[in-house]
């Protein structure tokens, strides 16, 4: 039993209703910022989003074009592998189903890639069927750069490192290719409900 610091409580950690909090997580009411590098500052006039890879013709949108796509407002719980969970987070974004509309591909995986060089990998079926968005608003406000703005990927059913900040495209690929964290100890899939944090979990 390790030493307990008398009177130390730490940041507010709630035990929320069972069933909403995956194993090993605690609920926070702030929105922690995690960063692997300098925050990219991308003016929307320079922002592009692409779909490329195993696809007949790559697709590309400028910010204005992207903002003309139909959007959804969703409220989701999010779970970070560093153990915090935030309930009822409100986002506005374009569903990845909308982005992939009309795309014909035999690829089973994607790599999401971002301004600044971050990558993460996902099965295609985990970003389709209403499970993922490219989100540009949080809590009704334009997404702040520290939280991944102008736009980030949002895949709430997996650990939040899969929700790539500053996303600039999706590459359709035939094989599952480990991204930035997946190639260095973090789980290829990352299901918080099975506590798939690290390799071997």
């Amino acid at each position: 039993m390790s030493f307990i610091s008398r009177g130390f409580r730490g940041k507010r950690r709630d035990v929320a209703a069972a069933g909403r909090v995956p194993p090993g997580q605690y609920v926070v009411d702030d929105f922690p910022v995690l960063s692997a590098g300098p925050t990219p500052r991308i003016p929307v006039a320079e922002w592009n989003f692409v779909v490329e890879g195993e696809i007949d013709e790559p697709k590309k949108w400028t910010w204005d074009e992207f903002r003309k796509l139909s959007t959804e407002q969703v409220t989701k719980d999010i779970h970070c592998v560093t153990k915090w969970t935030k309930l009822d987070t409100a986002w506005t974004g374009v569903s990845v189903d909308t982005i992939l509309e009309g795309v014909d591909t035999a690829a089973e995986y994607i790599v999401a890639f971002s301004y600044g060089g971050y990558t993460t990998n996902l099965p295609l079926e985990d970003v389709t069927g209403g499970k993922a968005w490219v989100a540009f608003e949080f809590d009704g406000q334009p997404l702040h750069p520290e939280h991944g703005g102008p736009a980030r990927l949002l895949v709430p059913h997996l650990y939040f490192w899969k929700s790539a900040k500053w996303v600039r495209g999706l590459r359709l690929v035939n094989e599952n290719q480990p991204g930035f964290w997946e190639s260095n100890g973090y789980h290829m899939y990352g299901d918080p409900w099975r506590e798939q944090r690290y390799w071997g979990d």
Partner: protein, 90 residues
Amino acid sequence: MTVQQSDLKLDGNAIGGLLREIFAMEMTTAEGTCAHCGRVSMVGEVVVYVNAPGAVVRCPSCDHVLMRIVQGRGKYWLDLTGVRCLEFSA
């Protein structure tokens, strides 16, 4: 509260303890050659982001990733491929 980028940007001193755990010796005076731009920096001077699912160490000159360190389940995962050569005293 808006977190400034500079809140998260530290230097190699911030991972002194972690590197001590891994290398079993003091490493902030070790010198690493960036595999991308060739700049030689002391570990104490490199750019470090610790507020992440792991520690990410970057070259102070070209910002390329020098090292990534993840800890979990009693293990370390260490990627040093961004460092061409790490020199430290016996």
